[in-house]
Symmetry: D2
Subunit: 345 residues, 4 copies
């Protein structure tokens, strides 16, 4: 059994990691930490786990983590990371970090979009971007993973095949993304109060959301040239789900059939990728699962393709992909413990 | 008092018209028709109106409508229209039609997008497109109004000022719109079942939604050249609200301040238009009201502007604007009976 | 025009009062106060009111309130009240208090259930319980009103006719009530976060909720003997709406028809009361309105009657009834400015 | 591997059974039937299962079922049952029926509450009521199980320990239950349209809901005397979850501590039962799981106890308990394949 630790275990991404690991046949939670709830049972904070996972939350104790964990999932607030991760890294523990800290190839891009110096630039160089379908081989041998953001996973996977095959123009790419409220994390701010969120929706952080830079890094890599995108996030009144609608101008007279073939071929061996034909993704097809649905439609009139992609932001967009990364790093079946379909209802 | 009739009174747009007229100080519902519920009280179908509007629903009786109505709001299914509207028109009754039938300047555009011959091409020529803020003067003297669609009102008003001032390129305009479920009307289809809609969202009719043609007609008029747009509608789990996110490439180095001035000037005398500065629209700011909120953000990096606009699809997007049209046609204050702010909670 | 002040104007009950008064034809908001947002426009806090009510929020300035208001709606946090209300009372201003402070005939009952000494016992004696349908005559001449709680309005009105006519046993009365989340007020606590509330429901404060004492006071008055009730509140995932399901044992072999007659007669002149026959109340029939719906069913097998009643907790359960009280106090039509039916959609 | 069939596989209870069995380590779906969707893949109807369970739906073919299944879960519409179940029974197939048909000890009670003659009275005698925690021993040896209703599971388990120990009076028991919309099944009726359900709640079938009789049968068995209850179901706007609030008069001066001990003892070996101390159940603690949460509060003032219990109506209230029954019938660990905690978010 893989001995797994979860730091920041009571945030929404943290607890989803705990929930998934609780029923993973090859892993076992041996350490869970939470600053706010140290010394409480995790099931006192999340009663849905009572009788299922009753581990007592610790404060972050590096020594104990080293001794008890083969892999650590870090879902820590910024700053806490820098004291913890290098030390664990040096002790040989595998690290899957769910923050934005280890997702960048270029420290400067991180520092520009996050507005803060990077805490561990030397580790940044060693970290691998954990979008499993695109970086599987590097992940296998990595010791530290920057687990991708939710918006970014959903956006990158929708555009990668078309850019890889130079089907679409690299200019004028627009990604309009919609997220459920769990994407904001576990917060007690008024703006996330039920009465303020339900029956409401709005855009936010237009042209400035950090995930833009993460999307651009990966799409540029795939395209082999610098790609800049408009990325607009929106908050919509549901819990789990991201829907990204991506627009790109076609480089030729491609049909829906052409596009389908490209997607189907690109993702042909991927358990978690569903390419839709004559249908469009819905977030409740993937909620509660690690799947991504991708559909599209060519607008021949405008020589443009519109791609629609859907994931569960907490699962494939965070904790599920983190466990997928663990599976790859430990040479398990990639869908081990996360093979289930969505909950739908 | 204006004597008003509502045909198709028990659909969602119809009943919203009834609800608004019920508290209108200068109008009075004298006729309400519903094929399905003829001979029932309207308040037996919508108990929220019991004691407030208990009119008995009739079948459509042209003679009686002529005698009892100065204006008729038609929210009829396709086909029913053609037998009713010409006859009422000839009798001199003013008509505000909430369907797509009288929104087009060019019969062929209608026939292409609706896939059916137009029933009353001669009346189509006389009808005025009832987007009040753009066609006020023609509306004043019109006898028949094609009341705009919900998506179209929200989209056109967001782009009109920029196109009128040639601030943005006329190519590559993209409108990504999200609608609440009342937009689908009163339906008993499985796909609109609570369990299928809540905690779910998806795009639909990509590149083929009829409102595209309506948006293109109006934007082309304003720009003075043919404009084609990508328009993508989405269904999101709330009742009232449309949010449109529009993308356009800037023709120069405009700042947020520049854009604000253009919007503020363009809509300076408009009671129902709120231009936001350093803030973005939210649908619950306008739900239950005839207001539109418009915000925006210049992405200097990409020389692009992103405009966000929000309306209540049933109110400004249908029944409220219909009443606004009535107010204009009868020389009342334009906000008479619809001056209220949104319900927010 | 009645000059009205609202203190605590940015809480949920406060802002609903402002919203309703904004379209009241005989009243005008001349003063609005908020500790948190003093010196801001109210429409900066609630953008749905922009262009509709843009009054600048003040701190509480007794002198200015006296000069500018005929009536003041107080929706203040406990403690603030005691410094404000006596002073306004002495100046002859009419007061409609939305807190629990002036709802009790017996100071001791208040002190027991609220766990705190009463701040103004002398005013408590002069205050009238503002459940309009039951205390209309006293309200007419009152200077200070204790505006009823939301749960209590919904519960008392459902049971009053049966107790008045001694149709039901005074023992074993059980009230199981469900409330939307606005009932908790404007709060930034984690438990009211969208993700914690949506797709969730639970009971709370079983056997200890303060509204129990308010219900018991009024039912005892009506029955002419002491009545104790089980009252259980529940939180359900919607914004507006209270549904109370009340159970009482019948004193005889009454039929549904008998019960209907008693209710219909008891409330025969009441604009805001809808007694249902062969149908049960739904909260969306009353949401956004001052109406109450009451339905019931005799369970002949158990010689018990079950009464179901529904109101909008913010409207009839708070701000709407407060305005109804104002209308009575100023001899206006009782439904002036609040005659509208619910919004339904 | 247990070879399992699911008849009526595309209804909400049916598909939840399929979903749960898809990840069950000891069972395998070998047959799935749906009248409406025969010859389609199940994952074409429920795309969340694509790649996870792509079995082709059959019509009901008794011969094939006999050959391919060790156990059959029947979630059929009334009438279809009678042709299928006896034949399967005679062939020795184990049957877990999710309808109301095999839940009754007394055919007359069934016929009275369902208003129809029973189709297979001879099998009714052999069937066991599948509330696992109460009838485990009979279930072990049964060939046919009447899987309990959702409301009934939640209600019976909340009252059983108190009645077994004669702690509460057998008169005046009241159960006020609230259900999410999946409880209505997969329906395209207008009343379950998102716009009609969301932001709405109401009681229904007061004093006449069929589950009343099922609750009374089991509580009477436990109490050793005939028990009649008031049972009121309500529809609330969420997908998964039942919350039952039960009221009973105490036979003595019991404290919360006393009640806790009784519950804790009664369910001491039950994996799926959580007894709460100083806390109340919430449906999102159990949604997506087979757990039941039970909390309570003594109202010493009224000598009454109020019990609150929560389950997931589709899981413990239908498909999950059905699988729990299968586990018992096949001598597996009772929580095999259903040990997971709720999804919470």
């Amino acid at each position: 059994m893989i001995r797994a630790g979860v730091l920041g275990a009571t945030g929404y991404a943290g607890i989803e990691t705990v929930r998934i690991l609780s029923s993973h046949p090859m892993a076992k939670i041996t350490y869970a930490a939470s600053k706010t709830y140290a010394n409480k049972k995790i099931s006192d904070v999340y009663p849905n786990l009572r009788g299922v996972c009753d581990i007592v939350l610790s404060d972050v104790d590096i020594q104990k983590i080293k001794e008890s964990c083969d892999v650590v999932f870090t879902a820590l607030p910024h700053g806490a990371s820098k004291e913890v991760i290098p030390s664990l890294y040096n002790a040989g523990v595998k690290i899957i970090d769910l923050s934005g800290d280890f997702r960048y190839n270029d420290q400067k891009v991180y520092e520009k979009w996050y507005g803060t110096p990077h805490d561990c630039p030397q580790l940044l160089k060693k970290s691998v971007y954990g979008l499993c379908e695109l970086h599987r081989n590097e992940i296998k041998n990595a010791q530290i993973i920057g687990n991708p953001g939710c918006y970014t996973t959903c956006s990158i996977m929708a555009l990668a095949p078309l850019l890889a095959h130079r089907i679409v123009n690299t200019k004028n790419i627009i990604i309009d993304a919609k997220s459920g409220v769990t994407g904001a994390g576990r917060q007690s701010k008024l703006e996330y109060n039920f009465c303020e969120c339900t029956e409401n929706m709005h855009a936010y952080k237009i042209a400035t959301h950090r995930h833009t830079s993460e999307i651009e890094q990966e799409l540029s890599l795939i395209a082999g040239e610098e790609i800049l995108v408009s990325f607009t996030p929106h908050l919509v009144p549901l819990k789990r789900g991201i829907l990204a609608t991506s627009y790109a101008n076609l480089n030729g007279d491609y049909t829906d059939e052409d596009i389908y073939k490209i997607f189907a071929e690109f993702y042909k061996n991927e358990y978690f990728v569903r390419i839709l034909k004559d249908a469009l993704p819905e977030t409740n097809h993937v909620a509660g699962s690690n799947f991504i649905e991708i559909g599209f439609k060519v607008d021949a009139r405008l020589k443009r393709v519109v791609i629609s992609s859907a994931i569960d932001n907490l699962f494939k967009g965070a904790a599920g992909q983190a466990v997928q990364n663990m599976n790859i790093m430990f040479s398990l079946d990639e869908n081990c413990g996360i093979a289930n379909g969505g909950i739908y209802l």
